[in-house]
């Protein structure tokens, strides 16, 4: 074997090279940087488990070092038998039992509905999310690909899917729950910090599975109410000549068969609601920014950006028309 493998110097280099990986432990979707009550519980469990795992590892390696280096002679077989029976048979079920019990004791609160609080319905569809909020007037309003939550309030989610199993996971706020066709699963979350986080699909669902994310914005309750009211209102009329032509082109080219823009004749339900698409922090489920240029790219070649996407490419439209549609959509704040 190559001796440099074992030299401490080469290990030092490796540690140095591995260091940037630790950067992955923070950021907008880290379970290790909890920003919600439930994520805190999960993080606490993680740290306890890691601590005990390190302890057990230390004991096992310690025993190995003891019998090979420190006292490499024959040992009392009775002590050895008790060690093996105790450490190999009795302790593991106990440790697993305690972990199981602790995990189970967290479950009821993680899925408890916020009976009187806000209830949001989310449907995972290939490869985006349909989001329904209740409005103050008692109705519901359909949005897409973005979830906003008031800070400090417990919010209930009802999750489902019309096609295949997806999942709903906001690591910074809580645990992962699957979205299963024909069933409604539940989750409840209580964010404790204002900020922008990231949610992901963590159940492989097809070619664009990795491009099925969403932004989660935790806001002060007042700002949240204003936001919801604004999202519930119809789309603003196009500003300027280009945008006006954009709206015409949008309606004339059949976009309205799949997309709704409240306040216009477009009322399709196959694709994401676009009434306030310009106000979102990302386009096409966390894949692009929401500037006019990205809209152009998306409309002409959605399949280049998301393989297998359920929206046809519109690159046959003349460039100025695509440009005008993009201008119109990016104005829809």
């Amino acid at each position: 074997m190559d001796a440099t493998y074992l030299s401490p110097r080469s290990w030092g280099w490796r540690a140095l090279i591995a260091l940037p990986l630790l950067g992955g432990c923070s950021g907008p979707q880290s379970t290790l940087q909890p920003a919600g009550v439930d994520a805190e519980q999960i993080a606490r469990l993680f740290w306890w488990m890691s601590g005990f795992a390190i302890l057990i590892w230390g004991v096992v390696i310690g025993c190995a070092v003891f019998v090979t280096y420190i006292k490499p002679r024959s040992h009392d077989s009775r002590v050895a038998r008790w060690l093996i029976l105790g450490g190999g048979v009795v302790v593991p079920p106990l440790v697993l039992g305690v972990l199981l019990a602790f995990g189970l004791s967290l479950l009821p609160s993680l899925s408890a509905p916020a009976e009187d609080g806000l209830q949001i319905s989310v449907s995972g569809e290939r490869w985006w999310r349909r989001v329904r909020y209740p409005t103050p007037s008692g109705g519901t309003v359909e949005l897409a690909n973005e979830v906003r939550l008031p800070v400090g309030e417990r919010v209930g989610f009802r999750l489902t899917s019309p096609d295949v199993i997806h999942s709903f996971w906001i690591p910074s706020l809580g645990g992962k729950v699957d979205m299963i066709p024909g069933r409604t699963t539940r989750l409840s979350l209580e964010p404790t910090e204002v900020g922008v986080f990231r949610g992901a699909c963590a159940e492989f669902c097809g070619t664009s599975h990795a491009l099925m994310n969403f932004r989660v914005v935790v806001m002060e309750p007042d700002a949240f109410d204003t936001w919801l009211e604004q999202q519930a209102s119809p789309a603003r009329p196009p500003q300027g000549e280009v945008a006006r032509r954009g709206q015409e082109a949008f309606l004339a080219n059949g976009c309205g068969a799949c997309h709704a823009i409240r306040g216009t004749s477009a009322d399709g339900v196959l694709g994401p609601d676009l009434t306030h698409v310009g106000s979102r922090l990302s386009l096409a489920a966390g894949t692009l920014p929401t500037d006019a240029e990205s809209f152009e790219r998306w409309i002409s070649h959605p399949d280049d950006i998301k393989p297998g996407v359920n929206m046809p490419a519109f690159d046959m439209l003349p460039a100025p028309q695509i440009h005008s549609i993009a201008t119109y959509l990016s104005q829809l704040e």
Binding site: P93, L96, G97, A101, L104, P108, A112, P113, T184
Partner: protein, 137 residues
């Protein structure tokens, strides 16, 4: 392969076990575990679908699963105890790997004890959720 030098230590005077032995006792522990799982699962599923409702309480189901658990655990305890008696047959110690009816008997007993122990712990784990979870959710 070298044959073992020492003769097989064995009990004198006890009736030697037959050449053919049933494997059922060996499978009994895991089978009871399976039965417990299916019973508990089916009871909870039927209750929540027909009586409790999506958000309803598990109510009596928790008690019923508790009773299943007590019964099945005592069943597994009996299986373990009988396995232990087989394992203790004669004076030989593990590993029971002689090609004789008596050692086969002991081997089957020992394996029954181990599988029974596994099934005992597993059944406890299966029952644990209803200790903490009170609703159909």
């Amino acid at each position: 392969m070298t044959r073992r030098a020492q003769a097989e230590p064995d009990a004198q005077g006890k009736p030697t076990p037959g050449r053919r032995e049933s494997l059922w006792p060996l499978a009994m522990g895991p089978l009871l575990w399976v039965a417990h799982f299916l019973l508990s699962y089916a009871t909870a599923a039927v209750w929540c679908a027909k009586v409790g409702g999506e958000n309803g309480s598990l109510g009596g189901v928790r008690l019923v699963i508790g009773i299943y658990t007590a019964l099945i655990l005592s069943g597994i305890a009996v299986v373990i105890w009988r396995g232990l008696r087989k394992h203790r047959f004669g004076t030989a110690t593990v590993p029971h790997d002689f090609d004789t009816p008596a050692d086969r008997h002991r081997f089957l007993g020992f394996a029954t004890v181990l599988l029974g122990g596994l099934s005992f712990v597993a059944t406890l784990y299966v029952a644990l959720p209803v200790v903490f979870i009170e609703s159909c959710r």
